[in-house]
């Protein structure tokens, strides 16, 4: 790219403004989708921002700024100087701007393509501009993968994996006695995770790239950004140019079926990024309706499991979250007519009273609201809807505690029978593997990220272990189904986590220190800013955080259920956060997931955050990707996250050695 050109733009704009009274006005193309460096920076060189599989469908879209009071009356898209058939929809979007769309285009010729838009104003003045995209072809190279399993540990960077290994792997004398299940995967690479509009992605583009092969803006799933973003446009969340998901693409071309499994709300960003098309990852009513209206029919969605039952209950039902708007938080969906027609999907409806569970059941899905019900789903069943919670499912630590007969915490009292992720995985694999043409399955360990945001060490570590157990079950499946590709990765790193050392004191000592107000007798005074209370640092940092050889080898006792008996072992592992918000820290397990500035205050050890607010943030760090099974050898090296999509399709379509 040539950013120097971009730097020239302000200068050119200034010159234009200076001569404006003498310049002839003309309409201008201000946005061209799919995005390209050719359009934005006039740079035709790689890397090409938009890439698609042969035949993968996507929308072409342009925004034209017309002259004041003028109207764009016609428009056309060209690819490689050939006019594309089909009607271009012209939509006025205010301020003399017009959006031009040509939906569901596809191209089967591999290689780089130049495309352009030409629009004509009602006074005959025209505007045009060009961009480019690449079509990726797949060469026959060996045996194909019948099944593709994505396992996404949300927010799981390299240190999350290391921490989970330390508490389960008995690291002694410099070596881990037992690695993680994901450590067994033979090939590992590194992924870059930047989104279309930031070096730091959120989960929506961070996961959608694996399903579409393309970048999108933060908060967006299966779409490119457009200029109808505000709620003054009734369809603002739903009219963006779309990119076809892997599930739909492989259902259409190979007859595969799709499964989505998470321990979050099923409308959360990562699961929705494998089936929904929206600029708003929070539009839960519409996203869940899309699962049924589009994914069941177009992507052969056959398994959907997680929390988020609130989106499936009619609004009058206590616990329902369904809304009566296409623009509000949790919005329902309605599509522009051209999008619905071109993609062959319903236009949708604002229907807060919809009973979505009933719709799934009527379509032949077995419905499981509990772990027991899931376990009882007949083995012959090939369609499963599992909704185990109205919101996010409870985290591993709380589910484990309840199974061990401990106190019911979190929302376990209301939902005492929630499955673990590996149990959901087993059922999903059993159902999907009934399809002779194979499947795409996404399994997400969601609360690794959520608890890392909250800088709640024990909770995200245990959720990483829960996720790793699901990986282990997939590896076992792959051994008996060798034409299966397993890809274990994340969508981004969360919280800048790393293992900084080990405690030099016992848990009993930590408890004493965490309740000791120190010499000033005050609680929660911040680092002396309003008083002399820095004694928490002396008690809980200076003499507790053992670094280098003082960290030793923290030892955890993993019991029969696969999880440590306690996270509060003597001389425990200690975690630091580089993406941290303010927090108090006493290194002990928090009995409830409280705010980082509300818990641990008695110990008076305050750690100043580097970001504002109450939550640690995602980082732009690269993340690991590990692969096993058919075609795993392709997943090595340092690559862009979108590349995973194309390499997976290479294995599924062209095969691999």
């Amino acid at each position: 790219m040539k950013p120097s050109l971009a730097l020239l733009f302000p200068t050119l704009a200034g010159l234009s403004a200076a001569v404006a009274p003498f310049a002839e006005a003309a309409p201008v193309v201000t946005r061209l989708n799919p995005p390209s460096a050719l359009f934005t920076f006039n740079d035709p060189n790689p890397p090409y921002i938009a890439r698609f599989a042969t035949g993968q469908r996507f929308d072409l879209q342009a925004t034209i700024q017309a002259d004041a009071g003028k109207v764009i009356t016609s428009g056309a898209f060209h690819v490689d100087n050939v006019a594309l058939p089909g009607d271009v929809t012209i939509t006025p979007i205010g301020s003399d701007k017009f959006s031009l769309t040509l939906r569901a285009y596809s191209n089967t010729k591999a290689g780089l393509h130049t495309f352009s838009v030409a629009a004509t104003q009602d006074d005959g003045v025209a505007a045009s501009d060009e961009g480019n995209f690449e079509i990726v072809g797949f060469q026959g190279a060996g045996r194909k993968a019948k099944n593709i399993i994505y396992l996404i540990g949300d927010g799981m960077g390299i240190a999350h994996r290391t921490a989970a290994r330390i508490i389960t792997g008995n690291v002694q004398q410099g070596k881990a006695e037992k690695g993680l299940a994901m450590d067994q995967l033979p090939v590992t690479g590194i992924l870059m995770t930047h989104s279309l509009n930031s070096i730091v992605t959120d989960s929506a583009p961070g996961a959608a790239c694996y399903s579409t092969g393309n970048k999108s803006n933060n908060n967006q799933e299966g779409v490119f950004p457009d200029d109808t973003t505000s709620s003054s446009f009734p369809l603002n969340k739903w009219d963006n140019p779309r990119v076809e998901h892997m599930g739909s693409y492989l259902a259409r071309t190979q007859g595969k079926v799709l499964g989505i499994v998470t321990n979050a709300d099923v409308e959360d960003a990562t699961p929705a990024s494998f089936a929904a098309h929206t600029q708003d990852r929070g539009a839960g009513t519409g996203i869940c309706d899309m699962y049924f209206d589009e994914a069941v029919t177009k992507a052969n969605l056959r398994v959907l499991m997680g929390g988020g039952r609130k989106w499936f209950l009619p609004q009058g039902q206590p616990g329902s979250g369904r809304v009566n708007s296409t623009t509000s938080g949790g919005a329902d969906y309605m599509l522009p007519a051209d999008a619905a027609a071109a993609w062959g999907v319903p236009v949708g409806a604002v229907d807060p009273g919809r009973d979505l569970i009933a719709d799934f059941v009527a379509a032949g899905f077995a419905y499981a609201p509990t772990a027991s019900a899931l376990s009882a789903v007949p083995a012959a069943e090939d369609r499963i809807l599992g909704l185990f919670h109205t919101a996010n499912m409870d985290i591993a630590m709380d589910k484990i505690a309840a199974r061990r007969g401990g106190p019911a915490v979190g929302s376990v009292p209301a939902f005492p029978d929630q499955p673990m992720l590996d149990e959901m995985t087993d059922k999903a694999l059993a159902a999907l593997s009934k399809n002779r043409n194979g499947f795409v399955l996404m399994i997400e360990g969601a609360s690794i990220d959520k608890q890392a945001h909250n800088m709640d060490t024990e909770r995200w570590v245990l959720d990483t272990v829960e996720f790793d157990r699901a990986v282990g079950h997939c590896i076992a499946f792959q051994k008996t189904n060798p034409d299966t590709l397993i890809i274990v990765t994340a969508d981004h790193e969360c919280a800048g986590i790393n293992i900084i050392g080990g405690s030099t004191v016992t848990t009993a000592s930590l408890v004493d220190r965490s309740d000791d107000l120190g010499t000033d007798g005050q609680q929660g005074v911040v680092n002396g800013a309003t008083g002399p209370s820095t004694d928490g640092q002396k008690r809980l940092r200076d003499v507790v955080v053992g670094v280098y050889q003082d960290a030793g080898f923290p030892q955890y006792d993993v019991i029969a259920d696969g999880y440590p008996a306690t996270m509060d072992v003597d001389y425990k592992m200690l975690i630091g956060y580089a993406g941290n918000a303010d927090r108090y820290e006493d290194w002990l397990t928090n009995p409830v997931p409280a705010s980082p500035t509300a818990r641990d205050t008695a110990g008076d050890y305050f750690i100043t955050g580097q970001v504002a607010g109450s939550s640690a943030v995602h980082t732009a760090s690269d993340i690991p990707v590990s692969a096993g099974g058919r075609g795993a050898s392709l997943f090595t090296g340092v690559m862009d996250n979108t590349e995973v999509f194309f390499r997976a399709l290479q294995v599924a379509i062209g095969g691999a050695k």
Binding site: N219, A269, G284, G319, S320, G330, P352, V592, S595
Partner: protein, 240 residues
């Protein structure tokens, strides 16, 4: 696992010791602490069963007119295969004066007249997760319509809210469907022994009200309140 807070948690219901009433009154000026109620005898709560000296100058006898409501007993548990179901006791309190003790959820609500109350501490990261969250169905939307634009600043200490209970679905400004609402008449800080300072609601982010109004639909479910903040309040980030 060690629950170091277990003593504190079990003590939670016992800590209604030094309580201060927050009475509905005309909205104060920004940053002004509401005056205390006239002096009166403090009470130990029915829950505590203990007697601890309340701070002087607080009359909490009004609490006797409010029936206690436990958020853990709002719905039949365990939840059924589909929706939740109010317990008969909860359903019978619809429209009645009740008092609920819980924690103010730490998040930035789009509606300045509302804060969320849950039984246990909770942080919502709306910017990150939207409505895909951990909010329990038993969460209470506390409506501050009596003093629009003003609420206690977020506090980690338990609060007791006294007001009129409303049951049934209602779509809130942030898109969330509330099922339990409490039209607040009093908010009581159950631990601090001081009045909850009346601030911008959870007033940690400049511009949040402006953001909420900008994001509101042309025909919002309810009219937003009249702005009461200074003109220095500006959005801090662009809408998507």
């Amino acid at each position: 696992m060690i629950s170091k807070y277990a003593p504190l948690i079990s003590f939670f219901p016992l800590t209604l010791l030094a309580m201060v009433a927050w009475r509905t009154m005309d909205p104060p000026s920004p940053g002004v602490t509401a005056p205390a109620e006239p002096a009166g005898a403090g009470v130990a709560t029915a829950e505590s069963g203990s007697q601890a000296p309340p701070p002087p100058g607080v009359d909490l006898s009004f609490r006797d007119g409010y029936a206690p409501l436990d958020m853990d007993a709002v719905f039949v548990t365990p939840a059924g295969p589909k929706g939740m179901k109010f317990t008969p006791a909860t359903a019978a309190l619809n429209g009645a004066k009740v008092r609920v003790t819980g924690q103010m959820v730490k998040h930035l609500h789009d509606d300045p007249q509302i804060f969320l109350l849950t039984k246990r501490p909770l942080v919502l990261i709306m910017k990150e997760f939207g409505l895909a969250d951990d909010l329990p169905a038993s969460a209470v939307h506390v409506l501050l319509s009596a003093r629009p634009g003003w609420a206690p600043r977020w506090t980690p200490r338990p609060l007791e809210v006294c007001g009129v209970l409303e049951l049934g679905p209602r779509q809130e400004l942030d898109g969330r469907i509330s099922h339990l609402r409490l039209v607040a008449e009093h908010v009581i800080d159950t631990e601090a022994g001081t009045l909850p300072e009346l601030m911008k609601p959870i007033g940690l982010q400049p511009g949040r009200l402006t953001q909420a109004w900008l994001a509101a639909d042309a025909s919002p479910p309810r009219a937003p309140p009249a702005p009461s903040l200074s003109s220095s309040t500006q959005p801090t980030h662009q809408p998507k």
